[in-house]
């Protein structure tokens, strides 16, 4: 039987349109290697995007070149999850960066995100203030459960913190975006580790030093003499949880990202920050959002994950 005719729709589109966006100097192009055998359901890239009548959300997580490199290819260890709590229209999100030294960090980051989102939804359903400390504790509890199962332990044989860390260590940023009656959005979030959050002021020009306002302290900001990547990560908890509550104005876009985005962004007043500000001036299509995040820049080869939120004033 002759093969079915295949549609040639799209054949006329320029492939160049989908070439990786580059910030000089670019990284070298190559065909990625497969992730490890057990990680077949951890895809190279995932993206998501939708709107309510009060905000637009885009999220993507992209495997970095260091994990795509064929001789040492690994699955993407970053993760992002988001949902909307339907009764109040509240965005609930989590972004995590699995520690590369942990054996199954790709599962650690995913389970930490899922647990954080589910816990926040439960808390919102109960009403009252959300308890981000309890959210993080639940994420740790899930990593402990996974470790128990992975090591074949009995329920009363709790694994040590080191055993959990060796298998599933991950950073976590999690929280909510709550639309307010005056048309802005209230943001409440916390983090463990070096993933970050920024407010992008779309009314400012590219290269403006106040184009991006970090919501947490950054590790590569101006004035730091040497760069340290030594970070806290779940299951370890800091003595005091870093928590930020702020209002998001209409002109601002909330960005939650792992260090694969935060490190090249730096202070945000360079070419990289300008490119993202231009691309995120209005919400792009979800696939294009992921494409932008798959930027090419020499030495910046870590997984990169970004969640962006644009407030809407009943414009849908």
């Amino acid at each position: 039987m002759a093969p079915r005719q295949i549609s040639n729709r799209g054949a006329g589109l320029s492939a160049a349109a989908w070439e990786r966006m580059t910030v000089q100097p670019p990284s070298m192009p190559f065909e990625p290697g497969p992730p490890k055998q057990s990680a077949y359901d951890v895809l190279d890239t995932e993206c998501e995007g939708w709107s309510t009548d009060r905000f637009t959300m885009r999220a993507a997580s992209v495997r970095g070149d260091s994990h795509r490199w064929p001789r040492r290819s690994k699955p993407r260890q970053d993760c992002v999850r988001a949902t909307v709590y339907e009764r109040t229209g509240t965005l609930v999100f989590a972004v995590a960066d699995g520690v590369s030294g942990a054996v199954h960090s790709e599962f650690g980051s995913r389970e930490a995100c899922r647990t954080a989102v589910e816990t926040l939804v439960e808390q919102l359903a109960r009403g009252g203030e959300i308890d981000l400390g309890a959210v993080v504790q639940n994420a740790v509890g899930r990593l402990v459960e996974l470790t128990q199962w992975r090591l074949g332990r009995q329920p009363d044989e709790a694994p040590t913190t080191k055993e959990v860390s060796d298998l599933f260590a991950t950073t976590l940023v999690t929280g909510i975006v709550q639309p307010t009656r005056d048309g802005d959005c209230f943001v409440d979030l916390c983090r463990v580790g070096d993933s970050g959050a920024w407010a992008l002021d779309r009314s400012r020009a590219p290269y403006d030093p106040e184009l991006y306002t970090p919501l947490f302290a950054t590790k590569t900001g101006a004035g730091k003499k040497f760069v340290s990547n030594r970070v806290a990560a779940l299951p370890q908890l800091p003595a005091e949880l870093e928590r930020v509550q702020t209002q998001l104005a209409q002109r601002e876009t909330l960005l939650i990202g792992t260090d694969g985005f935060g490190d090249p962004l730096g202070d945000g007043d360079g070419e990289f920050g300008a490119m993202f500000a231009e691309q995120l001036h209005t919400p792009p299509a979800p696939l294009w959002f992921a494409h932008v995040l798959d930027f090419s820049r020499e030495t910046f080869d870590d997984d990169r994950t970004l969640l962006a939120v644009w407030p809407l004033r009943g414009q849908r």
Binding site: S100, T171, N229, A233, G270, D302
Partner: protein, 225 residues
């Protein structure tokens, strides 16, 4: 303000060129060649490193000024000569490392704390004269660019001396008794390559930066009391 072009790890290889290394010149040269070839075969790792090779005896001579190994076309050549003056090494690094770090920053890079791989086959011929300079070099208050030092002793080098040279006891190694010096040199370079590659992988991730692999045929140096 321009973007940060990248975050680099400056790495220094200090090769003992004193007279007693004469019989092992070939192993030293082969080791340096394999190091250069290994980094050229790992362009993504090499992009995050800058490598310098220094030969030392009574003084320090530059065999490779700090370089991007993706584009460097020469292979460092060693010259056997003189005695084993540790003071010359640390005095040179005390000025060289801050200058290199400043230069890399001027090129638009951020810089990880530099790392020094120190290989010697003998005790210092300058007695304890090197210790003051060494202490200044590794004191982050006096030298903000103070490096991490990994020391590997072969031949007559004593464990206690390697411990004093290294910036952590976990970074001090000596060849096992009975292992030929030539074989130990080869193992030193193999471990150096794997340490640099793994450290290069760990850079820009949520992991500590420096990976130090013990060379085969070496043990961690343990001081005798």
């Amino acid at each position: 303000m321009p973007d940060v072009k990248g975050v680099l790890l400056p790495a220094y290889v200090l090769a003992d060129e004193s007279g007693s290394m004469g019989p092992y010149r070939r192993e030293l040269s082969d080791g340096l060649l394999s190091l250069c070839e290994a980094l050229r075969a790992e362009p993504m790792i090499a992009a995050k490193l800058r490598l310098a090779v220094l030969g030392f005896s009574e003084d320090v001579q530059v065999r490779l000024a700090i370089a991007d190994m993706r584009t460097e076309t020469t292979v460092p050549q060693v010259t056997i000569r003189g005695v084993t003056n540790y003071g010359a090494v640390f005095n040179d690094l005390l000025y060289r490392i801050p200058a290199d770090v400043q230069w890399l920053r001027g090129q638009g890079y951020k810089v990880h704390r530099p790392v020094v791989f120190f290989l010697s086959d003998g005790q210092p011929t300058d007695g304890n004269g090197w210790r003051t300079t060494h202490a200044t070099l590794v004191d982050k208050a006096q030298t903000p660019a103070a490096p991490n030092i990994i020391s590997c002793g072969i031949g007559d080098a004593k464990p206690a001396t390697m411990i004093d040279v290294a910036t952590s006891e976990q970074f001090a190694f000596v060849a096992r008794p009975g292992v030929s010096i030539g074989a130990a040199i080869s193992e030193f370079f193999a471990a150096l390559v794997s340490s640099l590659v793994e450290s290069g992988q760990a850079l820009n991730t949520a992991n500590p930066t420096l990976v130090v692999n013990r060379p085969d045929q070496f043990t961690m140096a343990i001081d005798e009391v």
